[in-house]
């Protein structure tokens, strides 16, 4: 890597972390001691804030600021689409007024909806307030089927559109010229990289059939990881449901394309003593059906979530250490540490996309491989 590229990466990371700190300190402005309308500045509040950020939500929250002791949220609402007991209901998430405690009730037709920590519940008929049991679970509400464009779904759609524009553009360029120019020249080596370093060596001559899945997965994960580093609060690959969906798709693909040979080796491994074969079959089956997809799912989820939590915690140093190190010291420490971790996260963003795609290709390769008969 040349010095120039390295410098550019440092600059980008600096830009990102500075942006993030600016974003966090917006929530830090103002004063006052009352609970509501108080800036996020105690460790508990920061914990809560981080947990909230990592989760999916129904509206797109950019930042909050405080003035005159009041909390102002800046962001935009997203459509909520629900299929409940009385059919389909649609409204904008702004109707909840940022309430997540179940206090604001949105009435659409016959149904009453509340938002409880990011999950939307439909009150049973005749109920007007949410009742909770000892573990703070609602007792008089059901969960409708939630088809809302949540923040993550919005992210997925944005990602899809972005990918389609970028690579569709590259595909279109090939109609006119042999060598793409402009941004296509950046994308082409990445495509070649996925084909030559991930698909071909792991799958072998049958690689062509799986290119669609592998390419889409690689670029989806990578771009969404990078999007997560931008200060807009996207956390698409940090959602367990998203990584689970990707892992299950890998599972389905390698099961659907598995050869007879593969199952012979799974269930009745040749070349080992007969007594061990059933035990091996159990282990192999568990590996193929559960462990492989589970490890894919958790690895990506945990890496990205951990990255977000660590980055936000380091940014929070700027607030929590103000008493011990003065405002300049804590900001400087927070800036240096978050710059460093942003650099690492840039690497992790690529690495996790590579690992997920590489392992998917490896598992597919194992399933389609034709063994030579001994």
């Amino acid at each position: 890597m040349s010095i120039n590229t390295f410098k550019n990466i440092i600059l980008a990371a600096l830009f990102l972390s500075a942006f993030n700190i600016g974003f966090a300190s917006d929530a830090n402005g103002g004063g006052g001691d009352n609970k509501e309308g108080d800036p996020v500045n105690t460790p508990e509040e920061i914990n809560e804030y981080i947990k909230h950020h990592v989760k999916d939500s129904h509206d797109f929250h950019l930042f909050s600021y405080f003035s005159d002791g009041e909390e102002h949220h800046v962001g935009f609402p997203l459509p909520v689409i629900l299929y409940g007991e009385n059919g389909l209901s649609m409204f904008m998430s702004s109707e909840f007024h940022h309430d997540e405690e179940g206090k604001t009730i949105v009435t659409k037709g016959e149904s009453n909806f509340v938002n409880l920590h990011g999950h939307i519940y439909e009150l049973k008929e005749g109920e007007t307030t949410v009742a909770f049991d000892a573990e703070h679970h609602p007792t008089n509400a059901t969960k409708p089927i939630d088809l809302s464009i949540t923040k993550s779904v919005f992210g997925i759609l944005l990602l899809g559109a972005l990918m389609f524009l970028m690579f569709g553009g590259l595909a279109k360029q090939y109609r006119k010229r042999d060598i793409p120019k402009g941004f296509g020249r950046v994308l082409e080596p990445l495509v070649v990289y996925v084909r030559d370093e991930i698909a071909k060596p792991n799958i072998g001559p049958k690689y062509r059939k799986f290119m669609g899945f592998l390419m889409t997965t690689f670029f989806f994960i990578w771009i969404s990881n990078l999007l997560g580093l931008l200060p807009f609060g996207f956390n698409v690959t940090g959602q367990l449901a998203v990584t689970a969906a990707l892992a299950v798709l890998t599972l389905v693909i390698y099961l659907a394309s598995s050869t007879k040979d593969f199952w012979m080796h799974q269930l009745w491994m040749p070349g080992v003593p007969y007594l061990i074969r059933p035990i091996l079959a159990v282990i192999e089956l568990a590996g193929t059906l559960i462990i492989k997809p589970f490890s894919l799912m958790v690895r990506l989820f945990a890496n990205i979530t951990a990255g977000h939590i660590v980055l936000m915690s380091l940014i929070a140093i700027g607030m929590t250490f103000q008493k011990d190190m003065t405002i300049y010291g804590s900001t400087a420490l927070s800036l240096v540490l978050s710059l460093f971790i942003t650099l690492i996260e840039l690497l992790v963003a690529f690495l996790q996309a590579y690992i997920f795609t590489m392992l998917s290709a490896l598992f597919i390769g194992m399933a389609v491989e034709e063994h030579e008969h001994h």
């Binding site: 899809g160 990918m163 569709g168 990707l246």
Partner: protein, 166 residues
Amino acid sequence: MEQLLENFSLDLFVKQTVLFVILIFLMAKYAWKPIINSLNEREDGIKNALDSAEKAKREMENLTADNERLLKEALVEREKLLKDAREIREQTIAKAEQEAQEKASKIIEKAQEAIEREKKVAMAELKSHVAGLSIDIAEKVVQGELSNKNKQLKLVEDMLVETTLN
């Protein structure tokens, strides 16, 4: 594990699966397929071009080798021709010299013979001429000398002297 489950949202899982499958098909049809096809085509084209360049290079090498061989052969041929020509020339000159020598000696011989012959003839003629002259002179002298007694005597005496001198 419980926290993992709490984080898991089935709705999002379904939405992601559907959207992602749609994305895969869209991307495969409109992006990956044309991209990979063009990349493969281009790579095949490059490979073919390299192969034919290699072939052309080998042909060029063969041609050059042929040329060099021909050139060498031509040089050897020329050398040989020059050598032959030189030999022939030398032979011709030697032969001509020899012939000339022979002819010259023959001519000289003939000339000498002719001179000898002419000399003999000339000598014979001279002898006879001298003899005639001597006789004429002798006649005249005798006539003159014999007109006078004294003179006759004197002549006899002179003649005698001459004879002894001769």
